[in-house]
């Protein structure tokens, strides 16, 4: 048993680290550290830089730009991005639709979409959730009706992250309403966001930001060639896609970076006659989260070591549900600690959807205070998305405990 990385893995980590140092725009990094919103261009520029190095889609098949990395390398890479912090490559492209097209798509679809998906010339968004289909995704109602060479799509998707930037959307739609099981009548279809009948409406979240949307489909005509794989097999592809989301799900590097920053900021804050960091109660709260993170880091390494043994194409490890649950709890705990740090200056509300409300006035209170409460509110999403923590509990109950 050994927790340390091999010399080759350490060399790889250093290579990743120096690449990030040399290529990540300082302003993008600063936005991430300070909890400010990163824009479309930050993400596009960064993914193009990654892709130029061959690192935007390392886990894809080699013929489409993959690197054939070991699970340990994939972990190190994501951990370094999270710790930097750097944006991750757009997950809808690189972890979701890309691998689905690479695995199940037609030759034409691969040629048309994969290069631009890897290089973020095409921005994808995910058309899965609906108002009536959240955790019970297979209950979705959006329909795709075949007419000649076209599908005609009607329905509503919701929680569509960054749809306002998207060029294309991958949609789960019901092609066989009469199927015996609700999972069986679903297809996976690619839709150009510019197609007539597609409309996007912003949803403002409780932090004030605009990252999710409703996407409406009103008699949207899509060429039948945009069906991925076979008709009515979309549920299988969706499951495959969600299994790809696993690596890095605990976001250990993100929490490490945030805890370090919290420790730094707690030196700047006064509490009575001392730094906040010198208050035993604060140190103990902070330390308690660090311990949980250390434990989760080792749990993550155990899962990675297991993946290395099983080979990359095994079924998803139900232990990654532990990573999701604990990882989200720890990320959320860091947002609580950050509110502890800023104290009364948690209160001023600065965010707004409307650009004209943005001003050049100096921030109220310390410049690191403004993001504390919005991040706390916004990050409640982490235990909701990607399979809610309750769904993860159900997965473990079934797959590990055999209930």
């Amino acid at each position: 048993m050994d927790l340390s990385f091999s010399p080759e893995e350490v060399a790889f980590r250093d290579e990743v680290r120096s690449f990030i140092r040399d290529h990540l725009a300082p302003e993008t990094r600063a936005k991430l550290i300070e909890g400010r919103e990163i824009g479309k261009q930050d993400i596009v520029d960064w993914q193009k830089a990654l892709h130029a190095r061959g690192w935007a889609v390392p886990h894809w098949p080699v013929e489409y730009g993959g690197q054939n990395w070991s699970p340990v390398q994939e972990y190190i890479f994501l951990d370094e991005l999270q710790m930097a912090p750097a944006p991750s490559a757009l997950p809808f492209n690189v972890s979701m639709v890309g691998p689905v097209i690479a695995t199940f798509g037609s030759a034409e679809q691969k040629a048309k979409f994969l290069p631009g998906t890897a290089n973020l010339d095409i921005w994808w968004c995910q058309g899965f959730s609906e108002p009536g289909a959240g955790s019970d995704l297979a209950g979705l109602k959006t329909t795709a009706r075949r007419e000649g060479d076209e599908y005609i799509i009607n329905g509503q998707k919701t929680w569509t992250t960054l749809a306002q930037y998207a060029d294309w959307i991958f949609v789960l739609a019901r092609t066989n309403p009469a199927a015996a099981k609700k999972q069986e009548g679903i297809s996976f279809i690619l839709v150009d966001m510019k197609t007539p009948g597609v409309s996007v409406r912003p949803i403002q979240l409780i932090d004030g930001g605009h990252e999710v949307n409703e996407v409406w489909f009103d008699e949207v005509r899509v060429p039948a060639e945009n069906l991925v794989g076979q008709e009515n097999k979309g549920w299988d592809y969706a499951k495959f896609l969600l299994g790809n989301e696993r690596m890095g799900i605990a976001r250990i590097g993100t929490s490490k970076q945030r805890l370090k920053r919290i420790r730094e900021l707690a030196k700047l804050e006064r509490f009575g006659d001392t730094q906040l960091l010198d208050q035993p109660w604060f140190r103990e709260k902070l330390t308690a989260v660090e311990i949980e993170l250390k434990a989760l880091e080792i749990t993550q390494l155990r899962v990675v070591a297991e993946a290395r043994k099983r080979g990359k194409h095994g079924t998803p490890d139900p232990n990654s549900s532990i990573l999701k649950i604990k990882g989200s709890e720890i990320q959320q705990a860091t947002t609580e600690l950050m509110m502890d740090v800023v104290g009364p200056y948690v209160m001023p509300f600065g965010a707004s959807l409307d650009d004209e409300d943005q001003t050049n006035e100096p921030p109220i209170g310390p410049d690191y205070a403004a993001a504390a409460a919005p991040t706390y509110f916004n990050w409640r999403k982490i235990s909701i998305y990607g399979g809610s923590n309750e769904i993860q509990h159900s997965i473990i109950a079934k797959a590990i405990l055999g209930f």
């Binding site: 927790l3 805890l259 103990e284 250390k294 080792i298 070591a305 590990i400 209930f403």
Partner: protein
């Protein structure tokens, strides 16, 4: 980075699994061992000796196998699963570590083979009425008297202290009660004049003793290592003890979780197994997660048990102890809850895991103690 066992470690694990299945396969056996006057069955101890378990951590020159933290983890994990009652922790892990790290060659050569061969039992007396979990808080004194030392004081809750043939005692040769310097370690004969022991059962069915030292005469060659400088050795031994009990607690948690899951699948209420109720399923998932997080930290502790840098080692042990103690409490309480009434009974095994886990929570410092210690030491994330 890997979590694989070496071939030797796999053999060790297989042999102890087999041994414990034989000696502890039936819970009544354990309860019978406890009725022996020493609180355990010498026949089991002798089998440990014959199978080499008692020699595991010691150097080959003293008849040992040169095992490390992971080897001890494998043993303690199985002891935890079996709820073993023999004084392995006291004699082999704790006293053994003091002698390995502190004893001068002549002393090591004389006494380590006695532990390793199972010929004598050893205990470590490092706690006092006022010290709680602070190893440097020592009121017992050792005063030089000619060629000897005279020891005077009271030692509390000495694990397996009643059955030990030799007791390692921390005593003050200089300095005030809570000074770091001035602590010395002595190896005393348990039957020496002036030693009186009051043995008793502990909550978890093991044994401990209150030990009084009234002008106990100890020859100077029974001073372990250097006078006044015993604390470092003592801390190192207790750090190894922490790593060991983290593994034991994980073994107990895993066994208790398995017992609970089995129970939930067979116990029926409202006409269905109670494992079909989501509220109960989710709770046992949380128990599994608690045990897995504890296991990760027990592995960390085992790998750091041999760390030479005391500050790094101590941080690792404190972090592991916090996680394991919190997980142990969560698993123990909820296993009892999920069992309902049967979990409250003395005859059922589950409650004994709960009790052992609860005692392990506090042993060598509870979660609050170690959280405070680690918080004072600085960020865990800067650690190597």
């Amino acid at each position: 980075m890997d979590f694989d066992l070496t071939d030797d470690q796999r053999l060790l694990q297989d042999s102890i699994v087999k041994l414990m299945a034989n000696r502890y396969g039936n819970f009544d056996l354990r309860q019978a061992y406890r009725k022996h006057p020493e609180g355990f069955d010498r026949a089991v101890w002798d089998e440990y000796a014959q199978s080499g378990l008692l020699a595991l951590p010691f150097a080959e020159e003293y008849g040992g196998f040169g095992g490390g933290g992971v080897d001890t983890m494998l043993v303690m994990d199985q002891f935890g699963k079996s709820l073993a009652v023999e004084p392995y922790l006291a004699s082999v892990v704790l006293a053994g570590a003091v002698l390995r790290h502190g004893a001068q060659p002549a002393m090591a050569a004389e006494f380590i083979p006695m532990i390793a061969g199972g010929e004598a039992l050893f205990a470590l007396a490092c706690t006092e009425r006022a010290s709680r979990y602070d190893l440097h808080d020592v009121s017992t004194t050792a005063r030089r008297d000619g060629a000897d030392y005279l020891l005077e004081g009271e030692k509390s809750v000495v694990l397996a202290g009643d059955s030990a043939d030799y007791i390692i005692v921390s005593a003050r040769t200089a300095g005030g009660r809570r000074e770091l310097a001035g602590i010395s370690l002595f190896l005393i004969d348990a039957k020496a004049e002036g030693v009186s022991r009051r043995g008793y059962a502990t909550q978890d069915g093991l044994r401990a003793a209150e030990i009084s030292l009234a002008s106990v005469r100890v020859p100077a060659d029974r001073l372990i290592g250097t006078a006044d400088a015993g604390l470092a050795t003592l801390e190192r031994a207790v750090d190894e003890g922490i790593a060991a009990i983290c593994a034991e607690a994980v073994g107990a948690m895993e066994a208790l979780n398995a017992l609970t899951v089995d129970y939930m699948k067979t116990r029926k209420q409202f006409g269905v197994p109670i494992s079909s109720f989501q509220a109960l399923q989710f709770r046992s998932v949380d128990m599994l997660i608690a045990a897995e997080q504890a296991k990760s930290m027990a592995i960390f502790a085992a790998l750091m048990a041999g760390e030479e840098n005391p500050a790094e080692r101590s941080r690792a042990m404190s972090s592991a102890k916090v996680q394991v103690a919190r997980s142990a409490r969560f698993v123990g309480q909820n296993a009892t809850q999920l069992h309902g009434g049967i979990g409250m009974t003395m005859e059922y095994k589950g409650g004994h895991y709960f009790k052992r886990l609860t005692m392990l929570e506090g042993l060598f410092g509870d979660a609050d103690h170690h959280l405070r210690r680690l918080a004072q030491a600085g960020s865990l994330l800067d650690a190597a």
